[in-house]
Each structure stands twice: as structure tokens, then as C-alpha cells.
């Protein structure tokens, strides 16, 4: 941790610079979402927009964590706590998502031609 006067003065400059970088990324993320020329993939919102938006957000978040929250030079224990919570959160989302994505199916879906789906009384399984 920056403890000497010189180090802190140096760090302060870095904080200001990181702040400006964050502003820039904020504008960038809005631009990607709203300016038509920067619209990748199909017109309007699609998964590419989601990936770009979240990627920029992740970069911003890592900057805040690394610089403002001093995670670039922390004690081992802090990393341990932080990583553990991230792992738990990933398990929550990943396994819940998997459970949603893998339901028991009844052979035939709601829509014509679909191979699997939930049971639908209007569209019973043909025997």
C-alpha cells in the first residue's frame, strides 16, 4: 500500500487519470448502444451489443477494483475473500442457468417442428 508521501502523491495523479478513463469508457458504451454506425450485428439490440456493453462495464469495474480499491497491491487474504465470493456467485448463476436450460421435456415442443419442449395440452405428444 502506498504509505509514503511521495507514493501517495504519485497515486493521486493515477486516480485522476483513471477517473478520466472511466468517463471515456462511459461515453463509449453509450455511443456503441445509440449511434447507428457503431451498431454491430443486426439493427437494434442483440447479443453482440450485450457482449460489448458488458465487456466495457467489466473493464471499468476492473479499473475501479484495481486502482481505487487497491486490489493491484493487496494482502493475500483480501484476494481470497473476494475470489471466494465471486466463485459462489458464479455457481449461483451457472447452476441455476443450467437447471433452467435443462428441463424434462415431452418429446415435442410448443411450436411446429420443434423437437422438445414443455408439455402443452394444445399440442399433445403423438404416440
Amino acid at each position: 500500500m502506498a504509505d509514503s508521501v511521495a507514493e501517495i502523491k504519485k497515486a493521486t495523479k493515477l486516480y485522476g487519470f483513471i477517473g478520466l478513463t472511466l468517463f471515456f469508457f462511459t461515453i463509449l458504451t453509450v455511443a456503441v448502444a445509440t449511434v447507428e454506425a457503431l451498431d454491430f450485428g443486426v439493427r437494434g439490440f442483440d447479443h453482440i451489443d450485450a457482449i460489448i456493453g458488458l465487456a466495457i462495464a467489466s473493464i471499468k469495474a476492473s479499473l475501479v477494483m484495481l486502482i481505487f480499491m487497491h486490489l493491484n497491491h493487496e494482502k493475500k487474504l483480501v484476494y481470497f475473500l473476494f475470489v471466494m465470493s465471486i466463485i459462489a456467485a458464479i455457481f449461483l448463476v451457472w447452476l441455476t442457468g443450467w437447471a433452467f436450460e435443462d428441463p424434462i421435456t415431452y418429446g415435442q415442443g410448443d411450436h411446429a417442428g420443434e423437437k422438445s419442449g414443455f408439455y402443452n395440452p394444445e399440442n399433445p405428444v403423438e404416440k
Binding site: K9, L22, T29, R43, F45, L54, F68, M84, S85
Partner: protein
């Protein structure tokens, strides 16, 4: 006794207590927001309705992002100032941080308020109308009138028009003038019911509900509610019957409480008697030799298991309802969610019911629509394999409202033009399909800017035009179509609150919780700013530690917002 390592770090961990504490707390916060974000993801991915994409005004969100990032910078500056033992600099940076927090919350408040005042209606055929309902009132005669048209626009061309509740031509449009200023105390999204009978369930009635009915009755200033049949009762069978409320007694909470007290006492008495009766029956049947060993479910079928009917004389069997009537019907204005109405009765939330006549005309929702959305109609049509355009044409609003039908026509023309433009600009792919086509939202949702344009008005363009949604007091608002939706066509009506759909629910929940975190963090940082001087003089390192810990929390709040902004505003 001193607790070690409050200021200095422990050697082997390298950390002081509160830093371990805050990181643990942040770990739990990661899980809290992780739970909420996973809620967002699964609600969105598995939504069975068109998820509202990019519906929030971007500008306030953008400003708020700047503000929070800025405050994150100033909070580390404040900490650095403390480390360098510069108290005044610390104070300035901390003050900026707190100001940022305040501005953030104010902007949030403006955003929320715009939503709470904005009406949405989902019709039975899944057309969605958004807009502002009109003010309405009841005049001295108990007639309901709607101030239709663009009541709030100063220059209204056709003037206010009234829908008389009782279609009495003599009154006509001059209602307002004739009877002086009327009470304009609600907006036209209510159930209007003319009632002359009120049946109250003594056990379940709720003071709030009956109080509301009484309040409206008093305002109506016609005849009062009077009891039809006297309420006769007694608390136990040993007493003589007494008249608790005589016929003609007025409806009041005190009178009801009196009747309820007797009713409940009598009910308790009956319950006691029956319990005794049943206990005796069991005791008797078990006394018969050999019965003790038999299971209960057999004994209850046994012929010797008999309830002694002599006890019945001790029963009171109280009446559970009281009925009040008025000579002249009173007009009630009820919130649609608090009543289940049919043509001749209105069941209130506490089980009491008003009997009389539903005023279907006045119960309709009348509003100036600032967006008409057919995306849900189109989605359902596609699921069923029907042509979405045909489904839209068949909807109630297009069939019954010529203004909306004309707008839809203009909109389809515009979309056809847009399709051509896109084809020209981006060309086709190898299969010959156009590379870019209008989105579902562009096709089926008519926004307020488009409504203004189709009405040949001037849409307000500019960064701030969408700040708090369309402003119905502005001149362009006269191009918003007037729609009148009968209540039986309404599937769901609500303001833009968590009730409207799961998107707004998660939006309000996450941003609300985030807002609480901002307030909480600001209180803690404010405490260091305003009450930290003493600690600064005694032990500046301790204060620096505390500010660092508070700052870590503040950065986390910023971090959450960094994800919230794109997720809620841009996706």
C-alpha cells in the same frame, strides 16, 4: 480492555480489523447483487412477453454514471489527503463526494416520479397503451364527468368535454358552469359505482375499507346509510337477546365495532359449546369397553359416536352480516384494484359488498396516449403462426378508434420506407435477404415522438427531450391520440410501477436497493466529515483507516452502478 488491531495491521494477515470486516461485508454484497442480477438474467431470458429494451431515458442514467464515478475519484482523493494529513483538502473532497450522492438521489427521484405518474394499460388483446389519464370529478349532483381532451394544455382546441354519468341531456356540456367548480379529485382510471345497499361481514370487515366508503358517502352529501334490519344478538345463550343496533341506525365504525364485539363473543360461545359437545361424545365412545384400542378413524364412524344435541340450546348462532341502505344511490369512485365489480355489485377487499349499478361509461379509462405498442400482439401472433400485421389490424383499438387506425396506417408507411432505406444502404446478403431490417420495436411500437410527427407536430429533438418522458403540458401533446378504453377490455392497468412487468419490478428493486446503499454510504462518509475532527486530532491514522473502509464501500456502490447502467438503460 482494548481490542487489538483496530488501527495497526496484524503482522501475519497484514490487515487491520475493519478492513477484513469490510471485505467480508463486500463479499456478502457481491452475493446479494449476484442474486439480484441472476434474477434479472433469468427473468429476462425466460420472459414470455416482449422485454422492454432500451426504454429508459439514457441521459439521466448517463449523468448519474458520471456523478458516481466522479464521487469515487473524490473519495480516494479525500483518503489520500488524510494520509498526507491535509484536513482542509479532505473536507473539500468529502463535501464534493456527498454533494454527488445528493445529486444522484435527486436525479433518481425525478426518474422515479415520472414513472409513477405515467399510466399503462394492457388490453385483453395485448395491445399496450401508455399515456396520461385525464382528471375527472363528481359534481354536486353526484354526476361523474371526465375532463377530456387536452385538459392540461393551455390552448385546447375542442375544449373540455364531459361524459355525464347519468346520461341526462338537460345537463349536457354545461355541467361545470351550472354547478360551480366541481371536485376534480381523481384521474379517469376508476370504477364508478352507484350504490344504495351495503352488506358488511362483521367478522372480516376492515376499518380502512369501511372508513373509505364512509368518507366518500359524507362527501356525496346525500342521504346517509341506515341499517335495514335491527341487529339483535347476545353473547351467551343464558342472556336475553338485546337489540345491539336498532333499525335505522347509522353506519359508523363505532356501531360496527359494537356489533362485531357481540358477534365475536357469541361465536366464541358457540365454539366453546361445540367443543364441549364433541369432547363429551369422544369421552362416551371411548368409555365403551374395547373401544380404547380401536383407531380414531374407525371410532368416528362408530354408531355409538353421537353428538349430544341437548347442548344445542346453548348455541347462539349469531348473524354474521349487517345490511345498510340509502334512499338515494351514492356514487362511489373506487380504485380498480380494490374492488371486484360486476354489473350490479361491487365486492370490496374486505368482503363487504356494495349493491347497485355499475357506471360502465364513467368507469372507462380515458387517456391521451403517448405510446401505442403492438409488440406483444405481434409476438403472440407469431407464436400461433398468424400474420402479425393481420392480428394488429384486428385489435379492438384499431377497430374502434379511427384516430389510432390512421396513426397505424401512417406508421406502416413509415416502416415500409425505412425498410427500403435500409435495403439501399446495407444491401442484401448471399441469400438475397436484406442485411438490416427494422427491429420488432420499430415495427410495432409507436413512440411519442412518432405520434407527434404523424400528427404533423414538431417533435422535440435534443439530448434532454427524453429526460422524464413526454411532457403532457407541452404544445406537442395535442397530437397524442385520445383513447377511451372500456373497463371490460382492460387486462391490466397500472402506473409504471413494479406492478407493470418484471422489467420494471427488477429495475425498481435493484436501483432502489442501490439507492439505499448510496444513502447509507453517504451517511457514513458524512459522519467522518462532520464528526471526524476529534479523531483526526487524536489519531489521524485511525480516521484514515475508517475513511479507507468507507471508501471501499463507496467504490463498491459505484461498481454496482457501472453494471446497472448498461444493463438497465442500454440493453
Amino acid at each position: 480492555m482494548e481490542i487489538p488491531f483496530t488501527v495497526t495491521a496484524r503482522k501475519d494477515t497484514g490487515l487491520y480489523n475493519s478492513k477484513v470486516g469490510i471485505w467480508l461485508f463486500l463479499a456478502s454484497e457481491v452475493m446479494l447483487f449476484g442474486g439480484l442480477f441472476s434474477g434479472y438474467v433469468f427473468l429476462r431470458v425466460y420472459a414470455d412477453y416482449p422485454w422492454p429494451e432500451r426504454v429508459l431515458p439514457v441521459v439521466p442514467g448517463l449523468i448519474n454514471t458520471f456523478i458516481l464515478i466522479g464521487s469515487s475519484v473524490t473519495v480516494v482523493f479525500a483518503w489520500a489527503a488524510l494520509k498526507l494529513r491535509k484536513w482542509n483538502q479532505f473536507r473539500i473532497f468529502m463535501l464534493i463526494t456527498l454533494t454527488c450522492a445528493a445529486v444522484f438521489m435527486v436525479l433518481k427521484g425525478i426518474e422515479y416520479k415520472a414513472k409513477w405518474g405515467h399510466q399503462a394499460v394492457r388490453m385483453d388483446d395485448f395491445v399496450i397503451l401508455e399515456g396520461h389519464t385525464h382528471p375527472a370529478g363528481i359534481d354536486a349532483d353526484g354526476n361523474v364527468f371526465h375532463v377530456g381532451g387536452h385538459a392540461s394544455v393551455e390552448d385546447h382546441s375542442d375544449g373540455p368535454h364531459y361524459i355525464a354519468a347519468k346520461t341526462d341531456d338537460a345537463h349536457g356540456g354545461d355541467h361545470h358552469a351550472e354547478h360551480g367548480p366541481a371536485v376534480k379529485d381523481f384521474r379517469t382510471n376508476v370504477v364508478v359505482f352507484d350504490a344504495n345497499e351495503l352488506v358488511i361481514n362483521l367478522e372480516t370487515y376492515h376499518e380502512g375499507v369501511i372508513g373509505g366508503i364512509l368518507e366518500q358517502s359524507e362527501k356525496a352529501n346525500s342521504a346517509n346509510w341506515t341499517l335495514v334490519q335491527p341487529y339483535v344478538g347476545r353473547e351467551t345463550a343464558r342472556e336475553d337477546e338485546q337489540i345491539i343496533l336498532s333499525a335505522g341506525a347509522k353506519l359508523s365504525l363505532e356501531n360496527l365495532a359494537k356489533a362485531r364485539e357481540v358477534y365475536l363473543a357469541a361465536k366464541a360461545n358457540d365454539s366453546k359449546v361445540r367443543t364441549k359437545q364433541l369432547s363429551d361424545a369422544w369421552a362416551k365412545v371411548k368409555d365403551i369397553p374395547g373401544n380404547k384400542e380401536r383407531p380414531n378413524h374407525e371410532l368416528v364412524q362408530d354408531e355409538n359416536f353421537k353428538i349430544n344435541e341437548d347442548f344445542d340450546q346453548f348455541l347462539v348462532s349469531p348473524t354474521s352480516t349487517v345490511t345498510f341502505q340509502t334512499d338515494e344511490p351514492i356514487t362511489f369512485v373506487l380504485k380498480p384494484r380494490e374492488v371486484r365489480e360486476s354489473a350490479e355489485s361491487a365486492l370490496l377487499a374486505d368482503g363487504s359488498s356494495l349493491n347497485g349499478q355499475l357506471n360502465t361509461e364513467a368507469s372507462a379509462i380515458e387517456m391521451a396516449a403517448d405510446a401505442i405498442d403492438f409488440t406483444f400482439v405481434a409476438q403472440r401472433a407469431e407464436e400461433k403462426g398468424v400474420d402479425p400485421l393481420a392480428a394488429v389490424e384486428k385489435t379492438w383499438i384499431i377497430q374502434n378508434n379511427p384516430q389510432v387506425a390512421a396513426i397505424w396506417k401512417a406508421h406502416t408507411e413509415k416502416i415500409a420506407k425505412l425498410e427500403e432505406e435500409l435495403l439501399e444502404k446495407y444491401g442484401t446478403d448471399k441469400q438475397g435477404n436484406p442485411k438490416r431490417v427494422p427491429t420488432e420495436k420499430e415495427r410495432y411500437r409507436i413512440t411519442w415522438q412518432e405520434l407527434v410527427n404523424y400528427g404533423e407536430g414538431n417533435e422535440e429533438k435534443g439530448v434532454f427531450s427524453g429526460f422524464a418522458g413526454p411532457d403532457h403540458t407541452k404544445d406537442y401533446a395535442k397530437h397524442f391520440p385520445e383513447v377511451l378504453v372500456p373497463r371490460e377490455e382492460v387486462n391490466l392497468e397500472t402506473k409504471f410501477t413494479p406492478r407493470w412487468n418484471t422489467y420494471y419490478a427488477i429495475y425498481f428493486l435493484i436501483t432502489g436497493l442501490h439507492g439505499l446503499h448510496v444513502i447509507g454510504g453517504a451517511i457514513v462518509l458524512g459522519y467522518f466529515l462532520f464528526f471526524g475532527k476529534k479523531m483526526y486530532l487524536n489519531n489521524p491514522e485511525h480516521l484514515a483507516n475508517r475513511v479507507e473502509v468507507g471508501g471501499l464501500f463507496w467504490h463498491f456502490v459505484d461498481l454496482v452502478w457501472i453494471f446497472l447502467f448498461p444493463v438497465l438503460y442500454l440493453m
